[in-house]
Symmetry: C2
DNA sequence: CTTGCAATTTAGAATGATTCTACTTACGTT
DNA sequence: AACGTAAGTAGAATCATTCTAAATTGCAAG
C-alpha cells in the first residue's frame, strides 16, 4: 500500500522539478505538498482549488482545504503556477511556458495556446500609448473565446446548411 | 428636492439609450433600473456590483442587492454591459465599443484600450490552429498588465538610477 | 381609468470561494 | 534526540453571488 502505479507510473518529472524549486525557495518539503504538487504538476485541465482538493481527499482524507490554498499560493509566489480568472473560482495553471488560453463558450473547456512570448508587440504598445499614455506594459495576456472543435461540430449537426425553420 | 444637479447635470444620454434598449428588449421600466442605469452608464471605473450598490444605497436606501445583480444581468444579456474577471468579484463595463483592458499591477487601476475590432488576426488564427485544431474563434480579449503612469513614476522616484544600496 | 397578472423588487437565507484563527504537528537544523 | 518554527488542521469568518418566498408594481387589456 505504498506507491501505487495508478495514473502516472514514472513519478512525473515536472513534479520533482516543482518540489525542488519549492525547496530551493526555502520552503519545507511535506507529505501534503508532495501530494498536491504530484496531483497538480501535469494537470492540463486548469483545475480549481476545489477540484484539486476533491481529488486529493481520496488519497489523503485528512488533508485540509487551507493547505491546498497555501500550497498553490506558494507555487504561484515561486512562479511555478499561473492563475486564471474566468468565473468566480480561480483556476490554476502549472504551465510556466508563455501561452494564452482558448475558452469554449459552450462547454467551458480551456486550452493552452503556446506563444513565443507575452511581451507586447510594437503595434500593441502604440495603441496603448494613445489610450493610456505612460502605461508601462509588462505582459499581454490573451483569451480566445469561441467554440472548441467538438462543440463547433455539434453546431454544424444541429444546423448543417443555415437555419432550417 | 427632486432632481438634484449633483454629478451629471444633463441626464446622461448613454443612460437614456440603455433604458430605451432595455425597454426595446421587452423589459419593464422601473425606478430602480433607471437609478442603476444612470449610475452605471457613464462609469469608467469598471465597478463591482458591491461598489454600485454602495453608491446607489445613498440615494435609494431601500434598494436590494439582488436588484443590482438582476439589472446588471439584464444589461449584459442585452449586450449593454461587459464583464471583467480580474479578481474574485466581477467587474462591469458599460463600454460596448470593442476594446481591451490595461491593468496596473501596483494600484489595480483598470483602463480601457480602444481596439478596431475583437476579431482574431490571421496570425492569431494560425497559432490557434496549431494548438487547438478545429477551435472556432469568435473574439480575442486582451489584458495588458503593467504599471500605470502614476505608479511607474513612483517607481522611478524610488530608484532613479538603479538600485542604491 | 380600473383590473389583473406576470415581471420585478425585497429581505434574508443559502451557496460557493477564499481567508483567517487558534492550536497541533512535524521538517530540518543543532 | 531536542528545539524552534514553518506548515497542517478543523472550523469559523468573510466576501461574492444566487436563490426563495412574499409583497409590489409596470403596463396591457378592457
Amino acid at each position: 500500500m505504498g506507491k501505487r502505479p495508478t495514473t502516472t507510473l514514472h513519478f512525473d518529472a515536472r513534479a520533482k522539478e516543482m518540489l525542488d524549486d519549492l525547496k530551493r525557495a526555502g520552503l519545507k518539503l511535506t507529505a501534503q505538498r508532495e501530494a498536491i504538487v504530484r496531483q497538480f504538476a501535469s494537470d492540463v485541465s486548469h483545475p480549481t482549488a476545489q477540484e484539486l482538493y476533491d481529488r486529493l481527499r481520496q488519497e489523503f482524507p485528512q488533508m485540509s482545504f487551507a493547505t491546498v490554498y497555501n500550497t498553490l499560493d506558494a507555487l504561484a509566489a515561486a512562479g511555478l503556477s499561473g492563475t486564471l480568472r474566468l468565473g468566480q473560482a480561480a483556476r490554476f495553471d502549472p504551465n510556466t511556458e508563455p501561452h494564452h488560453h482558448a475558452v469554449c463558450e459552450s462547454c467551458g473547456e480551456i486550452g493552452d495556446v503556446p506563444a513565443p512570448s507575452l511581451a507586447p508587440s510594437p503595434a500593441a504598445v502604440k495603441q496603448l500609448g494613445r489610450a493610456a499614455p505612460g502605461f508601462r506594459v509588462r505582459a499581454v495576456e490573451r483569451i480566445y473565446r469561441g467554440l472548441c472543435a467538438a462543440c463547433a461540430d455539434n453546431d454544424n449537426d444541429a444546423a448543417p446548411h443555415g437555419d432550417i425553420s
